[in-house]
Amino acid sequence: MGGIIEVRNLTAGYGGTAILENLTFDVHKGEIFVILGGSGCGKSTLLKHLIGLLPPLEGDILIEGKSLPKAEGRERQAILKRIGVSYQSGALFGSMTLSENVRLPLEEYTDLPNDALDLIAWMKLKLVGLENYVASLPSEVSGGMQKRAALARAMAMDPAVVFLDEPSAGLDPITSADLDALILRLNKTLGMTFVIVTHELPSIYAIADRVIMLDKKTKGIIAEGKPDDLRDHSDNAFVRQFFHREVTEVAE
Protein backbone atom coordinates (compact mmCIF):
# COMPACT_ATOMS: atom_id res chain seq x y z
CA MET A 1 0.00 0.00 0.00
CA GLY A 2 1.52 3.24 -1.16
CA GLY A 3 0.85 6.67 0.17
CA ILE A 4 -1.97 9.09 -0.46
CA ILE A 5 0.41 10.77 -2.91
CA GLU A 6 2.92 8.68 -4.79
CA VAL A 7 5.58 10.39 -6.82
CA ARG A 8 7.32 8.06 -9.25
CA ASN A 9 10.52 8.95 -11.11
CA LEU A 10 9.32 12.51 -11.52
CA THR A 11 11.43 14.89 -13.56
CA ALA A 12 10.11 18.34 -12.80
CA GLY A 13 10.67 21.58 -14.64
CA TYR A 14 9.22 23.69 -17.37
CA GLY A 15 10.05 24.79 -20.86
CA GLY A 16 12.08 21.60 -21.32
CA THR A 17 14.52 22.51 -18.53
CA ALA A 18 14.66 19.96 -15.75
CA ILE A 19 14.95 21.50 -12.30
CA LEU A 20 14.52 18.28 -10.36
CA GLU A 21 15.35 14.86 -11.73
CA ASN A 22 14.04 11.40 -11.03
CA LEU A 23 12.25 12.02 -7.72
CA THR A 24 10.46 9.18 -6.00
CA PHE A 25 8.68 9.58 -2.69
CA ASP A 26 5.38 8.93 -0.94
CA VAL A 27 3.21 11.05 1.28
CA HIS A 28 1.28 8.94 3.78
CA LYS A 29 -2.28 9.48 4.85
CA GLY A 30 -2.66 11.67 7.89
CA GLU A 31 0.88 13.00 8.07
CA ILE A 32 2.33 16.48 7.84
CA PHE A 33 4.87 16.29 5.09
CA VAL A 34 7.30 19.11 4.55
CA ILE A 35 9.20 19.90 1.36
CA LEU A 36 12.32 21.76 2.32
CA GLY A 37 15.26 23.32 0.58
CA GLY A 38 17.21 26.47 -0.04
CA SER A 39 15.95 29.24 -2.26
CA GLY A 40 15.78 28.31 -5.92
CA CYS A 41 16.05 24.55 -5.42
CA GLY A 42 12.70 23.85 -7.04
CA LYS A 43 10.36 23.58 -4.04
CA SER A 44 7.66 25.64 -5.65
CA THR A 45 8.16 23.92 -8.99
CA LEU A 46 7.66 20.56 -7.34
CA LEU A 47 4.52 21.84 -5.64
CA LYS A 48 3.16 23.09 -8.96
CA HIS A 49 3.61 19.61 -10.38
CA LEU A 50 1.93 17.99 -7.39
CA ILE A 51 -1.16 20.16 -7.74
CA GLY A 52 -1.32 19.73 -11.49
CA LEU A 53 -0.36 23.24 -12.61
CA LEU A 54 2.66 21.95 -14.52
CA PRO A 55 2.85 18.68 -16.48
CA PRO A 56 5.80 16.47 -15.51
CA LEU A 57 8.63 16.22 -18.01
CA GLU A 58 8.87 12.56 -17.09
CA GLY A 59 7.44 10.22 -14.49
CA ASP A 60 4.10 10.15 -12.78
CA ILE A 61 2.20 11.53 -9.79
CA LEU A 62 -0.55 9.43 -8.24
CA ILE A 63 -3.10 10.97 -5.91
CA GLU A 64 -5.10 8.32 -4.06
CA GLY A 65 -3.85 5.86 -6.65
CA LYS A 66 -4.93 7.85 -9.70
CA SER A 67 -2.50 9.55 -12.04
CA LEU A 68 -2.99 13.29 -12.04
CA PRO A 69 -0.94 14.11 -15.18
CA LYS A 70 -2.66 11.44 -17.26
CA ALA A 71 -6.21 12.26 -16.19
CA GLU A 72 -8.34 14.51 -18.34
CA GLY A 73 -11.71 16.18 -18.17
CA ARG A 74 -14.05 14.89 -15.47
CA GLU A 75 -11.54 12.38 -14.20
CA ARG A 76 -9.01 15.14 -13.61
CA GLN A 77 -11.63 17.33 -11.98
CA ALA A 78 -12.48 14.47 -9.61
CA ILE A 79 -8.82 14.19 -8.57
CA LEU A 80 -8.47 17.95 -8.15
CA LYS A 81 -11.55 17.98 -5.92
CA ARG A 82 -9.60 15.77 -3.54
CA ILE A 83 -6.84 18.33 -3.03
CA GLY A 84 -6.94 21.80 -1.57
CA VAL A 85 -4.26 24.42 -2.13
CA SER A 86 -3.44 27.50 -0.14
CA TYR A 87 -1.12 29.78 -2.09
CA GLN A 88 1.73 31.84 -0.78
CA SER A 89 -0.12 35.13 -1.14
CA GLY A 90 -3.44 33.63 -0.06
CA ALA A 91 -4.87 34.26 -3.54
CA LEU A 92 -8.29 35.08 -2.14
CA PHE A 93 -10.65 36.68 -4.60
CA GLY A 94 -10.55 40.34 -3.69
CA SER A 95 -14.07 41.14 -4.78
CA MET A 96 -15.65 38.45 -2.58
CA THR A 97 -16.14 38.28 1.17
CA LEU A 98 -14.31 35.59 3.13
CA SER A 99 -17.51 33.56 3.29
CA GLU A 100 -18.02 33.83 -0.46
CA ASN A 101 -14.42 32.79 -1.03
CA VAL A 102 -14.92 29.63 1.01
CA ARG A 103 -18.32 28.95 -0.53
CA LEU A 104 -17.11 29.18 -4.10
CA PRO A 105 -15.90 25.59 -4.64
CA LEU A 106 -18.94 24.20 -2.81
CA GLU A 107 -21.23 26.36 -4.86
CA GLU A 108 -19.68 25.14 -8.10
CA TYR A 109 -19.39 21.47 -7.25
CA THR A 110 -22.48 20.68 -5.18
CA ASP A 111 -26.23 21.28 -5.16
CA LEU A 112 -26.35 22.36 -1.54
CA PRO A 113 -28.97 25.02 -0.80
CA ASN A 114 -27.87 28.56 -0.13
CA ASP A 115 -28.34 28.41 3.66
CA ALA A 116 -26.27 25.25 3.80
CA LEU A 117 -23.45 26.92 1.89
CA ASP A 118 -23.46 29.85 4.30
CA LEU A 119 -23.44 27.47 7.25
CA ILE A 120 -20.59 25.34 5.91
CA ALA A 121 -18.54 28.43 5.04
CA TRP A 122 -19.08 29.71 8.56
CA MET A 123 -18.09 26.33 10.04
CA LYS A 124 -14.90 26.25 7.99
CA LEU A 125 -14.05 29.79 8.98
CA LYS A 126 -14.73 28.88 12.61
CA LEU A 127 -12.13 26.12 12.29
CA VAL A 128 -9.51 28.72 11.42
CA GLY A 129 -10.82 31.18 13.99
CA LEU A 130 -12.38 33.65 11.59
CA GLU A 131 -16.05 33.12 12.42
CA ASN A 132 -16.48 36.82 13.13
CA TYR A 133 -15.12 37.93 9.77
CA VAL A 134 -17.54 36.11 7.51
CA ALA A 135 -18.68 39.26 5.73
CA SER A 136 -15.26 40.95 5.54
CA LEU A 137 -13.41 41.47 2.30
CA PRO A 138 -9.86 40.07 2.12
CA SER A 139 -8.48 43.61 1.98
CA GLU A 140 -10.17 44.39 5.30
CA VAL A 141 -8.36 41.70 7.31
CA SER A 142 -4.68 41.21 8.16
CA GLY A 143 -2.19 39.10 6.23
CA GLY A 144 -2.31 36.29 8.78
CA MET A 145 -6.08 36.22 8.61
CA GLN A 146 -5.94 36.08 4.82
CA LYS A 147 -3.71 33.03 5.05
CA ARG A 148 -6.10 31.38 7.48
CA ALA A 149 -9.04 32.20 5.23
CA ALA A 150 -7.12 30.71 2.30
CA LEU A 151 -6.62 27.59 4.40
CA ALA A 152 -10.37 27.49 5.10
CA ARG A 153 -11.04 27.77 1.38
CA ALA A 154 -8.55 25.00 0.66
CA MET A 155 -10.49 22.78 3.09
CA ALA A 156 -13.91 23.67 1.73
CA MET A 157 -14.39 20.46 -0.21
CA ASP A 158 -13.04 18.21 2.57
CA PRO A 159 -9.97 17.35 0.52
CA ALA A 160 -7.79 14.33 1.21
CA VAL A 161 -4.65 16.47 1.06
CA VAL A 162 -4.10 20.16 1.68
CA PHE A 163 -1.07 21.80 0.08
CA LEU A 164 0.36 24.92 1.67
CA ASP A 165 2.93 27.06 -0.11
CA GLU A 166 5.10 28.87 2.45
CA PRO A 167 2.30 29.39 4.97
CA SER A 168 4.48 31.43 7.30
CA ALA A 169 6.01 33.73 4.66
CA GLY A 170 5.44 37.32 5.68
CA LEU A 171 3.99 36.52 9.09
CA ASP A 172 5.39 37.50 12.46
CA PRO A 173 6.65 34.64 14.66
CA ILE A 174 3.58 34.62 16.90
CA THR A 175 1.09 34.59 14.04
CA SER A 176 3.20 31.99 12.32
CA ALA A 177 3.21 29.83 15.47
CA ASP A 178 -0.56 30.21 15.71
CA LEU A 179 -0.88 29.00 12.15
CA ASP A 180 1.35 26.02 12.97
CA ALA A 181 -0.85 25.19 15.93
CA LEU A 182 -3.91 25.41 13.70
CA ILE A 183 -2.40 23.07 11.12
CA LEU A 184 -1.45 20.64 13.85
CA ARG A 185 -4.94 20.76 15.33
CA LEU A 186 -6.61 20.16 11.98
CA ASN A 187 -4.23 17.31 11.35
CA LYS A 188 -4.88 15.68 14.72
CA THR A 189 -8.64 16.21 14.94
CA LEU A 190 -9.68 15.76 11.33
CA GLY A 191 -6.82 13.49 10.27
CA MET A 192 -6.13 15.79 7.37
CA THR A 193 -2.96 15.24 5.36
CA PHE A 194 -0.80 18.30 4.79
CA VAL A 195 1.98 18.88 2.29
CA ILE A 196 3.83 22.05 3.19
CA VAL A 197 6.54 23.90 1.32
CA THR A 198 8.59 26.01 3.68
CA HIS A 199 12.03 26.81 4.97
CA GLU A 200 10.96 28.07 8.38
CA LEU A 201 12.84 25.78 10.73
CA PRO A 202 10.83 26.53 13.87
CA SER A 203 7.68 25.56 11.98
CA ILE A 204 9.26 22.40 10.72
CA TYR A 205 10.29 21.23 14.19
CA ALA A 206 6.86 22.09 15.52
CA ILE A 207 4.71 20.30 13.01
CA ALA A 208 6.54 18.11 10.51
CA ASP A 209 6.18 14.35 10.70
CA ARG A 210 8.50 13.85 7.77
CA VAL A 211 10.70 16.07 5.68
CA ILE A 212 12.30 15.80 2.29
CA MET A 213 15.08 18.15 1.45
CA LEU A 214 15.73 19.17 -2.14
CA ASP A 215 19.06 20.27 -3.51
CA LYS A 216 19.90 22.54 -6.41
CA LYS A 217 23.19 20.89 -7.36
CA THR A 218 22.11 17.27 -7.45
CA LYS A 219 18.60 18.18 -8.64
CA GLY A 220 17.18 15.62 -6.27
CA ILE A 221 16.33 14.68 -2.71
CA ILE A 222 19.38 14.81 -0.48
CA ALA A 223 17.66 13.92 2.76
CA GLU A 224 14.45 12.34 3.92
CA GLY A 225 13.24 11.64 7.43
CA LYS A 226 12.18 13.19 10.71
CA PRO A 227 13.49 16.72 11.21
CA ASP A 228 15.26 15.92 14.49
CA ASP A 229 17.04 12.94 12.93
CA LEU A 230 18.21 15.01 10.01
CA ARG A 231 19.57 17.67 12.30
CA ASP A 232 21.43 15.27 14.54
CA HIS A 233 22.36 12.32 12.38
CA SER A 234 22.56 13.36 8.75
CA ASP A 235 25.78 12.42 7.05
CA ASN A 236 25.32 15.16 4.50
CA ALA A 237 27.23 18.30 5.36
CA PHE A 238 24.80 20.62 3.59
CA VAL A 239 21.83 19.18 5.45
CA ARG A 240 23.60 19.57 8.79
CA GLN A 241 24.63 23.11 7.91
CA PHE A 242 21.10 23.99 6.84
CA PHE A 243 19.61 22.77 10.08
CA HIS A 244 22.32 23.97 12.41
CA ARG A 245 22.96 27.42 11.12
CA GLU A 246 19.32 28.21 11.36
CA VAL A 247 19.03 26.61 14.76
CA THR A 248 21.79 28.75 16.20
CA GLU A 249 20.11 31.77 14.71
CA VAL A 250 16.82 30.86 16.31
CA ALA A 251 18.45 30.11 19.67
CA GLU A 252 19.91 33.58 19.92
Partner: protein
Amino acid sequence: MAQDKAELAVERSENGPRLSLKGRLDAAGSAAVWQRAVREAQPGAVVDASGVTYCDSAGAALLYDLQQRNGVRIEGLPEEAKSLLKPYEKIEFPKLEKEPPRKESAPTAIGRVAVGLVRDARDQIIFTGQASVALIQGLFRPDLVRWRDMWHTFETAGVNALFIVGMIGFLTGMIMAFQSTVPLQQFGVDIFVVNLVALAMLRELGGIMTAIVLAGRSGSAFAAEIGTMKVNEEVDALTTMGLDPVRFLVVPKVMAAILVTPLLTIYANVIGIAGGLMVVMLFGHPWAAVYNQLTGAVDLSDIATGLIKSFFFGALVGGIGCLRGLQTKIGATAVGESTTRAVVSGITLIIVVDAIFAVVFWATNF
Protein backbone atom coordinates in the same frame (compact mmCIF):
# COMPACT_ATOMS: atom_id res chain seq x y z
CA MET B 1 -20.87 3.42 -3.36
CA ALA B 2 -24.14 4.19 -5.08
CA GLN B 3 -25.88 1.64 -2.90
CA ASP B 4 -25.61 3.71 0.27
CA LYS B 5 -26.89 6.95 -1.17
CA ALA B 6 -28.21 9.37 1.44
CA GLU B 7 -31.83 8.80 2.28
CA LEU B 8 -34.34 10.45 4.53
CA ALA B 9 -37.39 8.63 5.84
CA VAL B 10 -40.05 10.43 7.87
CA GLU B 11 -42.48 8.70 10.24
CA ARG B 12 -45.21 10.77 11.74
CA SER B 13 -46.62 9.95 15.18
CA GLU B 14 -48.40 11.77 18.01
CA ASN B 15 -45.08 12.76 19.59
CA GLY B 16 -43.92 14.53 16.46
CA PRO B 17 -42.12 13.39 13.35
CA ARG B 18 -39.19 11.00 13.43
CA LEU B 19 -36.58 11.61 10.76
CA SER B 20 -34.27 8.74 9.89
CA LEU B 21 -31.13 9.69 8.04
CA LYS B 22 -29.29 6.89 6.26
CA GLY B 23 -26.32 6.42 3.99
CA ARG B 24 -23.48 8.70 2.98
CA LEU B 25 -23.84 12.26 4.14
CA ASP B 26 -21.24 13.76 1.83
CA ALA B 27 -21.75 16.99 -0.09
CA ALA B 28 -23.92 15.34 -2.76
CA GLY B 29 -25.89 13.26 -0.23
CA SER B 30 -26.50 16.17 2.11
CA ALA B 31 -27.60 18.33 -0.80
CA ALA B 32 -30.16 15.70 -1.78
CA VAL B 33 -31.86 15.54 1.63
CA TRP B 34 -31.16 19.02 3.03
CA GLN B 35 -34.27 20.93 2.01
CA ARG B 36 -36.66 18.21 3.07
CA ALA B 37 -34.89 17.48 6.36
CA VAL B 38 -34.99 21.15 7.33
CA ARG B 39 -38.65 21.40 6.38
CA GLU B 40 -39.65 18.33 8.38
CA ALA B 41 -37.63 19.22 11.48
CA GLN B 42 -40.51 20.82 13.36
CA PRO B 43 -40.26 21.36 17.12
CA GLY B 44 -40.49 18.01 18.87
CA ALA B 45 -38.94 16.14 15.99
CA VAL B 46 -36.44 13.39 16.61
CA VAL B 47 -33.61 12.85 14.14
CA ASP B 48 -32.19 9.34 14.04
CA ALA B 49 -28.71 9.51 12.57
CA SER B 50 -27.65 5.97 13.44
CA GLY B 51 -27.95 4.85 9.83
CA VAL B 52 -25.38 7.34 8.60
CA THR B 53 -22.42 5.43 7.17
CA TYR B 54 -20.22 8.36 6.26
CA CYS B 55 -20.29 11.97 7.22
CA ASP B 56 -18.08 14.80 6.00
CA SER B 57 -18.33 18.46 6.81
CA ALA B 58 -21.41 18.99 4.63
CA GLY B 59 -23.15 16.20 6.57
CA ALA B 60 -21.92 17.64 9.84
CA ALA B 61 -23.33 21.00 8.79
CA LEU B 62 -26.73 19.42 8.16
CA LEU B 63 -26.73 17.71 11.54
CA TYR B 64 -25.61 20.93 13.18
CA ASP B 65 -28.36 22.85 11.45
CA LEU B 66 -30.97 20.35 12.68
CA GLN B 67 -29.49 20.32 16.18
CA GLN B 68 -29.73 24.09 16.42
CA ARG B 69 -33.45 24.07 15.75
CA ASN B 70 -35.64 24.45 18.78
CA GLY B 71 -36.91 21.22 20.24
CA VAL B 72 -35.17 18.96 17.76
CA ARG B 73 -33.34 16.02 19.28
CA ILE B 74 -30.68 13.99 17.50
CA GLU B 75 -30.11 10.34 18.30
CA GLY B 76 -27.36 7.98 17.29
CA LEU B 77 -24.93 10.61 16.12
CA PRO B 78 -22.02 8.80 14.46
CA GLU B 79 -18.57 9.19 15.99
CA GLU B 80 -17.08 11.03 13.02
CA ALA B 81 -19.92 13.55 13.09
CA LYS B 82 -19.38 14.06 16.81
CA SER B 83 -15.73 14.91 16.32
CA LEU B 84 -16.55 17.14 13.37
CA LEU B 85 -19.12 18.99 15.46
CA LYS B 86 -16.93 19.36 18.52
CA PRO B 87 -15.63 22.85 17.70
CA TYR B 88 -19.19 24.14 17.45
CA GLU B 89 -20.52 22.94 20.80
CA LYS B 90 -20.53 26.28 22.51
CA ILE B 91 -21.22 28.52 19.61
CA GLU B 92 -24.24 29.34 17.56
CA PHE B 93 -24.44 30.10 13.88
CA PRO B 94 -25.38 33.75 13.70
CA LYS B 95 -28.23 34.38 11.34
CA LEU B 96 -26.44 36.17 8.60
CA GLU B 97 -28.47 39.23 8.08
CA LYS B 98 -27.93 40.36 4.57
CA GLU B 99 -28.10 44.10 4.63
CA PRO B 100 -30.90 45.12 2.30
CA PRO B 101 -29.44 47.15 -0.52
CA ARG B 102 -29.81 50.74 0.50
CA LYS B 103 -32.23 52.65 -1.64
CA GLU B 104 -30.99 56.00 -2.72
CA SER B 105 -33.35 58.86 -3.38
CA ALA B 106 -33.07 60.53 -6.76
CA PRO B 107 -31.59 63.80 -5.43
CA THR B 108 -28.94 61.87 -3.46
CA ALA B 109 -28.03 59.86 -6.53
CA ILE B 110 -27.81 62.95 -8.71
CA GLY B 111 -25.75 64.70 -6.06
CA ARG B 112 -23.39 61.77 -5.72
CA VAL B 113 -22.84 61.55 -9.46
CA ALA B 114 -22.33 65.31 -9.68
CA VAL B 115 -19.79 65.33 -6.87
CA GLY B 116 -18.03 62.40 -8.56
CA LEU B 117 -17.85 64.31 -11.83
CA VAL B 118 -16.54 67.44 -10.17
CA ARG B 119 -13.90 65.44 -8.28
CA ASP B 120 -12.89 63.67 -11.47
CA ALA B 121 -12.66 67.00 -13.29
CA ARG B 122 -10.48 68.35 -10.50
CA ASP B 123 -8.24 65.25 -10.68
CA GLN B 124 -7.95 65.70 -14.42
CA ILE B 125 -6.99 69.34 -14.08
CA ILE B 126 -4.40 68.60 -11.41
CA PHE B 127 -3.04 65.74 -13.46
CA THR B 128 -2.91 67.84 -16.63
CA GLY B 129 -0.92 70.43 -14.70
CA GLN B 130 1.51 67.88 -13.26
CA ALA B 131 1.98 66.14 -16.57
CA SER B 132 2.50 69.43 -18.45
CA VAL B 133 5.08 70.59 -15.95
CA ALA B 134 6.87 67.27 -16.17
CA LEU B 135 6.75 67.31 -19.99
CA ILE B 136 8.10 70.85 -20.23
CA GLN B 137 10.74 70.00 -17.66
CA GLY B 138 11.64 67.05 -19.86
CA LEU B 139 12.11 69.34 -22.86
CA PHE B 140 14.59 71.52 -20.98
CA ARG B 141 16.26 68.69 -19.09
CA PRO B 142 16.25 65.75 -21.54
CA ASP B 143 18.39 63.75 -19.11
CA LEU B 144 15.37 63.49 -16.81
CA VAL B 145 13.31 61.65 -19.43
CA ARG B 146 13.34 57.85 -19.52
CA TRP B 147 14.07 57.66 -23.23
CA ARG B 148 14.25 53.90 -23.33
CA ASP B 149 10.70 53.60 -21.96
CA MET B 150 9.64 56.29 -24.41
CA TRP B 151 10.98 54.43 -27.44
CA HIS B 152 9.54 51.18 -26.20
CA THR B 153 6.08 52.73 -25.95
CA PHE B 154 6.64 54.42 -29.30
CA GLU B 155 7.18 51.00 -30.81
CA THR B 156 4.28 49.18 -29.14
CA ALA B 157 1.80 52.01 -29.60
CA GLY B 158 3.00 53.07 -33.03
CA VAL B 159 4.87 50.55 -35.12
CA ASN B 160 2.79 47.63 -33.90
CA ALA B 161 -0.40 49.53 -34.72
CA LEU B 162 0.52 50.11 -38.37
CA PHE B 163 -1.41 47.14 -39.65
CA ILE B 164 -4.69 47.85 -37.88
CA VAL B 165 -4.57 51.59 -38.56
CA GLY B 166 -3.75 50.93 -42.21
CA MET B 167 -6.50 48.39 -42.63
CA ILE B 168 -9.16 50.54 -40.98
CA GLY B 169 -8.05 53.61 -42.97
CA PHE B 170 -8.01 51.79 -46.28
CA LEU B 171 -11.41 50.20 -45.79
CA THR B 172 -12.98 53.43 -44.54
CA GLY B 173 -11.69 55.26 -47.63
CA MET B 174 -13.07 52.58 -49.90
CA ILE B 175 -16.44 52.40 -48.18
CA MET B 176 -16.89 56.18 -48.25
CA ALA B 177 -16.04 56.28 -51.95
CA PHE B 178 -18.36 53.40 -52.75
CA GLN B 179 -21.31 54.78 -50.85
CA SER B 180 -21.02 58.27 -52.34
CA THR B 181 -20.15 57.35 -55.91
CA VAL B 182 -23.56 55.82 -56.62
CA PRO B 183 -25.72 58.85 -55.70
CA LEU B 184 -23.24 61.34 -57.20
CA GLN B 185 -23.17 59.39 -60.46
CA GLN B 186 -26.84 60.30 -60.96
CA PHE B 187 -25.76 63.91 -61.31
CA GLY B 188 -22.66 63.06 -63.27
CA VAL B 189 -20.36 64.54 -60.65
CA ASP B 190 -18.89 61.38 -59.21
CA ILE B 191 -15.36 62.72 -59.72
CA PHE B 192 -16.09 64.89 -56.68
CA VAL B 193 -15.90 61.75 -54.59
CA VAL B 194 -12.18 62.50 -54.61
CA ASN B 195 -12.83 65.82 -52.84
CA LEU B 196 -15.14 64.15 -50.38
CA VAL B 197 -12.80 61.35 -49.42
CA ALA B 198 -9.70 63.53 -49.28
CA LEU B 199 -11.25 66.32 -47.20
CA ALA B 200 -13.06 63.96 -44.83
CA MET B 201 -9.91 61.93 -44.28
CA LEU B 202 -7.54 64.84 -43.85
CA ARG B 203 -9.72 67.12 -41.77
CA GLU B 204 -11.57 64.59 -39.59
CA LEU B 205 -11.55 60.85 -40.08
CA GLY B 206 -7.85 60.09 -40.36
CA GLY B 207 -7.10 61.72 -37.02
CA ILE B 208 -10.16 60.48 -35.20
CA MET B 209 -9.82 56.89 -36.36
CA THR B 210 -6.18 56.81 -35.41
CA ALA B 211 -6.92 58.32 -32.02
CA ILE B 212 -9.73 55.85 -31.34
CA VAL B 213 -7.55 52.90 -32.31
CA LEU B 214 -4.83 54.32 -30.06
CA ALA B 215 -7.28 54.72 -27.18
CA GLY B 216 -8.41 51.12 -27.57
CA ARG B 217 -4.94 49.65 -28.02
CA SER B 218 -2.60 51.82 -26.02
CA GLY B 219 -4.69 53.98 -23.69
CA SER B 220 -6.10 50.80 -22.20
CA ALA B 221 -2.63 49.26 -22.03
CA PHE B 222 -1.25 52.31 -20.19
CA ALA B 223 -4.10 52.13 -17.69
CA ALA B 224 -3.68 48.40 -17.15
CA GLU B 225 0.10 48.65 -16.76
CA ILE B 226 0.09 51.56 -14.33
CA GLY B 227 -3.01 50.16 -12.59
CA THR B 228 -1.29 46.84 -11.93
CA MET B 229 1.77 48.68 -10.67
CA LYS B 230 -0.50 50.63 -8.36
CA VAL B 231 -2.11 47.44 -7.05
CA ASN B 232 1.31 45.83 -6.51
CA GLU B 233 2.48 48.91 -4.60
CA GLU B 234 5.13 49.57 -7.27
CA VAL B 235 3.89 53.13 -7.62
CA ASP B 236 4.27 53.56 -3.86
CA ALA B 237 7.79 52.15 -4.14
CA LEU B 238 8.66 54.84 -6.69
CA THR B 239 7.17 57.56 -4.50
CA THR B 240 9.11 56.47 -1.43
CA MET B 241 12.31 56.41 -3.47
CA GLY B 242 11.61 60.08 -4.04
CA LEU B 243 10.88 59.50 -7.71
CA ASP B 244 7.87 61.22 -9.15
CA PRO B 245 5.52 58.63 -10.70
CA VAL B 246 4.35 61.24 -13.20
CA ARG B 247 7.87 61.85 -14.49
CA PHE B 248 8.78 58.21 -14.31
CA LEU B 249 5.68 56.54 -15.73
CA VAL B 250 3.53 59.16 -17.37
CA VAL B 251 5.99 61.36 -19.27
CA PRO B 252 7.51 58.62 -21.47
CA LYS B 253 4.07 57.31 -22.38
CA VAL B 254 2.46 60.67 -23.08
CA MET B 255 5.50 61.80 -25.03
CA ALA B 256 5.41 58.66 -27.14
CA ALA B 257 1.67 59.10 -27.73
CA ILE B 258 2.13 62.74 -28.77
CA LEU B 259 4.86 61.79 -31.22
CA VAL B 260 3.25 58.71 -32.63
CA THR B 261 -0.31 59.95 -33.19
CA PRO B 262 0.51 62.52 -35.92
CA LEU B 263 2.71 59.98 -37.69
CA LEU B 264 -0.01 57.36 -37.60
CA THR B 265 -2.51 59.99 -38.73
CA ILE B 266 -0.44 60.87 -41.80
CA TYR B 267 -0.17 57.19 -42.56
CA ALA B 268 -3.93 56.65 -42.11
CA ASN B 269 -4.66 59.67 -44.32
CA VAL B 270 -2.45 58.43 -47.13
CA ILE B 271 -3.80 54.89 -47.02
CA GLY B 272 -7.41 56.04 -46.62
CA ILE B 273 -7.23 58.44 -49.58
CA ALA B 274 -5.51 55.72 -51.61
CA GLY B 275 -8.43 53.39 -50.84
CA GLY B 276 -10.93 56.04 -51.93
CA LEU B 277 -9.05 56.90 -55.11
CA MET B 278 -8.81 53.24 -56.00
CA VAL B 279 -12.58 52.99 -55.97
CA VAL B 280 -12.97 56.14 -58.07
CA MET B 281 -10.57 54.69 -60.63
CA LEU B 282 -12.42 51.41 -60.62
CA PHE B 283 -15.49 53.38 -61.65
CA GLY B 284 -13.63 54.39 -64.78
CA HIS B 285 -11.90 57.69 -64.06
CA PRO B 286 -8.30 57.93 -65.37
CA TRP B 287 -5.44 58.61 -62.98
CA ALA B 288 -4.73 62.06 -64.48
CA ALA B 289 -8.28 63.26 -63.79
CA VAL B 290 -8.26 61.86 -60.29
CA TYR B 291 -4.86 63.42 -59.57
CA ASN B 292 -5.93 66.84 -60.83
CA GLN B 293 -9.11 66.66 -58.79
CA LEU B 294 -7.12 65.75 -55.69
CA THR B 295 -4.55 68.55 -55.98
CA GLY B 296 -7.34 71.01 -56.66
CA ALA B 297 -9.37 69.88 -53.69
CA VAL B 298 -6.75 69.81 -51.01
CA ASP B 299 -4.72 72.69 -49.72
CA LEU B 300 -2.22 72.97 -46.91
CA SER B 301 -4.74 74.11 -44.29
CA ASP B 302 -6.67 70.83 -44.69
CA ILE B 303 -3.58 68.82 -43.92
CA ALA B 304 -2.59 71.16 -41.10
CA THR B 305 -5.96 71.05 -39.30
CA GLY B 306 -5.86 67.27 -39.14
CA LEU B 307 -2.29 67.22 -37.91
CA ILE B 308 -2.71 69.92 -35.28
CA LYS B 309 -5.63 68.00 -33.82
CA SER B 310 -3.71 64.74 -33.83
CA PHE B 311 -1.09 66.17 -31.45
CA PHE B 312 -3.88 66.96 -28.99
CA PHE B 313 -5.51 63.57 -29.51
CA GLY B 314 -2.20 61.89 -28.72
CA ALA B 315 -1.71 63.87 -25.52
CA LEU B 316 -5.31 63.14 -24.55
CA VAL B 317 -5.22 59.40 -25.13
CA GLY B 318 -1.86 58.96 -23.45
CA GLY B 319 -2.71 61.25 -20.56
CA ILE B 320 -6.12 59.82 -19.81
CA GLY B 321 -4.76 56.26 -19.96
CA CYS B 322 -2.06 57.11 -17.42
CA LEU B 323 -4.45 59.08 -15.21
CA ARG B 324 -6.94 56.21 -15.04
CA GLY B 325 -4.06 53.89 -14.21
CA LEU B 326 -2.93 56.12 -11.34
CA GLN B 327 -6.50 56.35 -10.06
CA THR B 328 -6.73 52.56 -9.73
CA LYS B 329 -7.95 51.39 -6.34
CA ILE B 330 -7.37 47.96 -4.77
CA GLY B 331 -7.70 44.59 -6.42
CA ALA B 332 -8.00 42.89 -9.77
CA THR B 333 -11.44 44.32 -10.56
CA ALA B 334 -10.09 47.83 -10.09
CA VAL B 335 -7.58 47.30 -12.90
CA GLY B 336 -10.37 46.23 -15.23
CA GLU B 337 -12.40 49.24 -14.21
CA SER B 338 -9.50 51.63 -14.90
CA THR B 339 -8.93 50.09 -18.31
CA THR B 340 -12.58 50.51 -19.23
CA ARG B 341 -12.60 54.06 -17.95
CA ALA B 342 -9.44 54.85 -19.91
CA VAL B 343 -11.04 53.76 -23.18
CA VAL B 344 -14.44 55.34 -22.51
CA SER B 345 -13.13 58.73 -21.38
CA GLY B 346 -10.45 58.59 -24.09
CA ILE B 347 -12.97 58.19 -26.89
CA THR B 348 -15.42 60.66 -25.37
CA LEU B 349 -12.76 63.32 -25.00
CA ILE B 350 -11.49 62.76 -28.54
CA ILE B 351 -14.94 63.54 -29.91
CA VAL B 352 -15.46 66.51 -27.58
CA VAL B 353 -12.07 68.00 -28.45
CA ASP B 354 -12.73 67.42 -32.13
CA ALA B 355 -16.02 69.31 -31.83
CA ILE B 356 -14.25 72.20 -30.10
CA PHE B 357 -11.65 72.31 -32.87
CA ALA B 358 -14.39 72.29 -35.50
CA VAL B 359 -15.84 75.47 -33.99
CA VAL B 360 -12.44 77.11 -33.52
CA PHE B 361 -11.34 76.37 -37.10
CA TRP B 362 -14.66 77.63 -38.42
CA ALA B 363 -14.45 80.84 -36.39
CA THR B 364 -10.87 81.49 -37.49
CA ASN B 365 -11.56 80.54 -41.11
CA PHE B 366 -8.74 78.02 -41.00
